[in-house]
């Protein structure tokens, strides 16, 4: 669109979401990803932000999704699960490489004293 640019590189939050999906494996759905990000990074994000990002990543072809079975503790509602596609894994690996390469040798300065 002529009034909005689309970017190809992964954003900071996109990386967190992708890492959450990778970590949770078979059990990667919205609430679980949200809690994982909260527990590990300390960012208490909203569920809409998680799903907006998941949806965008799926649109970029980095994730795929499927609908699970209804469960009673959700009031009989179903879950939507996500998993990395090969392109998603490649993008995450690329981001990781870039981060590590940039952080190389800076450990002493970046880690909390």
């Amino acid at each position: 669109m002529w009034f909005k640019a689309t970017t190809a590189a992964l954003g900071d939050f996109e990386q967190l979401v992708l890492l959450g999906v990778l970590r949770l494996g078979e059990a990667a759905y919205g609430a679980a990803i949200r809690q994982e990000i909260h527990a590990r990074s300390g960012r208490d994000v909203s569920i809409n932000a998680v799903y907006t990002t998941l949806d965008r990543l799926e649109g970029k072809g980095l994730l795929r999704s499927w609908i699970g079975e209804p469960t009673p503790q959700r009031g009989g509602r179903r879950r939507k699960f996500y998993a990395l596609t090969p392109a998603g894994e490649a993008a995450l690996r690329q981001a990781y490489r870039a981060f590590m390469a940039m952080a190389d040798g800076l450990r002493g300065r970046l880690e909390p004293k």
Binding site: W2, F3, I47, N48, T52, G59, T71, R78
Partner: protein, 882 residues
């Protein structure tokens, strides 16, 4: 019992979440809520609310995710934009009627805005066309407030000026000046007036006016006894003298006196809005040593240039300190006299700022109404194209893409409207140039420059967005399936609520404008008929200034005027004749006055009055009533009339007739005996209260100039020729200036108010027309959409009256809401107007009621045609068409 998430938060989510996300997101939130509720139900509920609100604010995107089509190489944003614009042009060509309607409304709206902005730009925004004008300031006294209530600024006295000039360090220079000197150029056919200005040493250097020929005045020429020199304006040099190249050093006879020309000033420095720069010729002020020492008579204007980097505040502070020092040094003349600095630009622009800002706001409202109308048209268009839009969506155009397409169309229309609008503004300003000239300062500088173009461009884009965004957004929201199934059949009115909202908005904005125009027009009417204390009908005035070379003393001057008045009185059609120095409404001399037997007090404690020099016949010519005592008579000498206000101010309840006073600025010795009390007259603004005034009459005239006032029994303009003829036979070389009727004098003062009232009235009428067109088109659309329903109703036996009422209610209910909202808004806007109106409150309830009634009537009329059409629908035809 297990805790449950808050029900209202669930409902909010249910409403806000797109269907494809609802189950998943709600499930996630409920699941985590249960988890958290185990620890603390209250905290879990808070958390749930927090999540729900954030979801509601920005829910995950809707729209089934279509696989993103990989962008073609080279498919840039620019290319999409161009394609959209191309498509917009094709659409316009296909439906020219719609395009023309939209463009005309927008062009008029943007044109009116651009025109008003051009005026605001020239008057308020553009700096004066002088070198570094922001450093130029006017320098004034602040008079003692007890003696001059309400006067913020006052001219300077020479002695104080020279002291300030000597002591102040904040200025590159300061100079006195004085306009208003009129001379006669001789030996060039009939005597005609030449306007002259006197300027102190350094004036041209301060203004940074460089001469075209020759030089500016030297400091030693601003001294008594210096050779008489003159600088000419380029205009005078060209039109009167024929632009001789060797003019510098040549003699020129003005007022029977020889002057040497030392320079010619270019026309480029003749800033029309600042009188002193538009004179024909300039002289050095050249005050005598005696005149330079005058401290208590305040008659001179002054201008200064602030040193680079010096702020107005610090310069003001410095002058204030100096003024205070002078107060202590010369208490008898200076007690209570402070100092004021004003940026030259502010002084030149004067008090039109308020009305211009008001007009800009008003014309902005007109544009908003135009936007609402255009928005309605675009909305109808977009709905008629629902099928096209649905097809585009089915082929994969996202909602954003559709929105973008429609917005591009709106912007294209607005852009064309904007270009035409600039044309309309330019044409309108040219056509109104003559009118504007007398109404606003700096009118000659009004034109279209880059600021105006920028404004018009911004206004066009904003208009396109405002008018196009809502329809574009609503059009993309429709149910794709329904639209396709419907097959684009025009059935059922869509978006009725949005349209009603447009009517409400239009009616409300129109009411604000009508209210403003209503009070402005009434205020103007009140001012035109305000009692100034005199009768302005059938009165002719003309100014005469006797040159000192031929009328050296009082006896000569009195003799001239005696003969002139006698002959003028004998003219057929003239009832009475008198002279006065300054006619009412034009201001004049304000002086301290001392009662006989009382000691003169410090200036700040001394009462001041307007002082006029009149002759017998003046009161009668102006029809100013004598309240007590008698009028001036031919045999009188050193007598005085006092106005009622002056009598009350000076003597309270005691009778002033027979008492005597002195006017210390004229003479501390000469007593004037009061012979009568006369009615109060407004000497300054007609919108203000009359000032205490005294009229002196002395056999021998001190001053060489006077305004002759003639009361006529015939239309006063017809006396102009015989009256000037009388003067010419007495002295063929004496110019007669400023020939005006008193009605013209009063109208001149109301010029800028008349201008605002006129424009505001035009805007209000435009708004009313737009609003009624809006109501009409919305109702017509609704009737067309509901024709089936109405047809069935009629077939089932509904009466004509019933259908009429149905449609009228449809139109009148949003209009009524609009009137209510507009009424409230008008009362708020009244605060801005309050300072601009006279004789009426800006929130005058009667006007509000009248305006609301007008608007209701217009809404009713606009609703009648569609209602009538609905009532006459033939049910058979309608139902068969199905």
């Amino acid at each position: 019992m297990t805790p449950r998430p808050p029900r209202s938060a669930l409902a909010l989510l249910d409403w806000r979440l797109p269907s494809e996300w609802r189950e998943v997101v709600l499930g996630d939130l409920v699941e985590e809520f249960q988890l958290r509720a185990g620890a603390s139900p209250a905290a879990a509920r808070r958390w749930f609310w927090w999540q729900a609100l954030r979801c509601a604010a920005a829910p995950p995107p809707s729209g089934a995710r279509t696989a993103t089509i990989p962008t073609r190489p080279g498919d840039s944003r620019m290319r999409t934009l161009l394609a959209d614009l191309r498509y917009a042009c094709r659409v316009m060509r296909r439906t020219p009627g719609y395009a023309v309607a939209v463009i005309v409304v927008l062009a008029l709206g943007i044109g009116a805005n651009t025109a008003i902005f051009s005026i605001v730009n020239a008057v308020l925004l553009r700096p004066l066309p002088l070198d570094e004008p922001e450093r130029l300031v006017r320098i004034y006294h602040r008079p003692p407030q007890d003696a001059f209530p309400g006067a913020d600024t006052f001219p300077l006295s020479p002695a104080n000026f020279y002291d300030w000039q000597r002591m102040a360090t904040s200025f590159d220079g300061m100079a006195m000046f004085r306009g208003g000197r009129v001379l006669t150029l001789l030996g060039k056919g009939a005597a005609h007036p030449v306007t002259g200005g006197s300027v102190g040493a350094g004036f041209f250097e301060i203004v940074r006016a460089r001469p075209l020929l020759g030089r500016v005045f030297r400091a030693d020429e601003d001294a008594p006894g210096a050779p008489k020199v003159v600088i000419l304006s380029e205009k005078f040099w060209r039109s009167e003298l024929g632009a001789p190249a060797d003019i510098v050093g040549k003699p020129l006879r003005l007022n029977d006196e020889p002057y040497t020309v030392v320079g010619v000033m270019p026309s480029s420095m003749a800033v029309k809005a600042w009188g002193i720069l538009t004179r024909d010729v300039w002289f050095p002020i050249a005050l005598s040593a005696e005149d330079r020492a005058v401290r208590e008579n305040h008659n001179f204007a002054a201008v200064g240039r602030l040193k680079a980097g010096v702020t107005l505040e610090s310069a003001s502070t410095e002058l204030a300190v100096i003024a205070r020092r002078l107060e202590t040094a010369y208490p008898e003349a200076n007690a209570g006299w402070g100092s004021v600095l004003r940026p030259l630009q502010d002084v030149v622009v004067g008090d039109v700022r308020g009305s211009l800002v008001m007009l800009l706001g008003a014309v902005g409202l007109v544009l908003l109404i135009a936007c609402a109308n255009v928005g309605n048209l675009m909305f109808t268009r977009a709905l008629a194209r629902r099928k096209e839009i649905a097809v585009r969506a089915a082929l994969g155009a996202g909602r954003g893409r559709v929105f973008q397409q429609l917005l591009a169309e709106a912007l294209a229309l607005a852009a064309i409207g904007g270009v035409l609008g600039i044309g309309i503004a330019a044409g309108g300003l040219t056509a109104a140039a003559r009118l504007l000239d007398g109404q606003v300062p700096r009118a000659n500088e009004i034109g279209i420059d880059w600021r105006v173009l920028l404004f018009a461009a911004a206004a066009s884009i904003l208009t396109g967005i405002v008018a196009g965004a809502l329809p574009a957004w609503r059009a993309g929201r429709g149910d794709l399936n329904a639209a396709l199934k419907e097959g684009g059949r025009n059935d059922g009115a869509v978006g009725v609520r949005t349209r009603r909202l447009l009517i409400v908005g239009e009616v409300a904005l129109s009411l604000v404008l009508l209210m403003g125009a209503g009070v402005m027009v009434q205020s103007l009417f009140a001012l035109r008929h305000a009692d100034g204390g005199f009768d302005e009908h059938q009165v002719l005035t003309m100014q005469i200034s006797l040159p000192a070379t031929r009328y050296a003393g009082g006896p000569q001057r009195s003799a001239f005027f005696d003969t002139a008045l006698q002959r003028l009185r004998a003219l057929p059609g003239v009832e009475s004749v008198g002279t006065i120095d300054n006619v009412p409404l034009e201001g004049g001399s304000v002086q301290p006055i001392v009662l006989e037997g009382q000691a003169e007090r410090l200036p700040k404690d001394q009462p001041t009055v307007q002082v006029r020099t009149a002759t017998p016949g003046y009161l009668h010519a102006m029809r100013i009533p004598v309240v007590r005592g008698r009028d001036l008579a031919d045999g009188d000498d050193h007598v005085m009339l006092v106005s009622r206000g002056a009598a009350r101010l000076l003597w309270g309840d005691a009778d002033p007739v027979g008492r005597s006073v002195t006017l210390p600025l004229v003479s501390r010795m000469q007593l004037h005996r009061v012979v009568g009390i006369v009615g109060d007259v407004k000497q300054g603004e007609i919108a203000e209260a009359p000032q205490p005034t005294v009229y002196t009459y002395t056999r021998e005239r001190d001053v060489p100039f006077a305004t002759i006032v003639l009361r006529t029994s015939v239309p006063p303009e017809t006396i102009t020729v015989p009256a000037t003829g009388v003067i010419r036979t007495l002295d063929p070389e004496l110019p007669v200036r400023n020939i005006r009727t008193m009605e013209q004098v009063r109208d001149d003062q109301l010029a800028s108010r008349r201008f605002s009232a006129l424009l505001l009235g035009c805007f209000a009428i435009g708004a009313l027309a737009l609003a009624s067109a809006g109501i009409y088109s919305v109702l017509s659309y609704i009737v067309r959409g509901r024709s089936r329903e109405i047809g069935i109703r009629t077939a089932l036996g509904a009466q004509t009256g019933h259908v009429l009422r149905l449609v009228l209610a449809e139109g009148m209910s949003p209009a009524a809401i609009g009137i209510a909202i507009g009424g409230a808004a008008a009362l708020l806007a009244a605060r801005i107007l309050e300072r601009l109106v006279f004789g009426i409150s800006a929130s005058d309830p009667l006007t509000l009621v009248a305006v609301a009634a007008t608007l209701a009537l217009v809404a009713l009329l606009a609703s009648l045609v569609p209602a009538w059409r609905a009532a006459r629908l033939d049910p058979l035809k309608v139902l068969r068409a199905d």
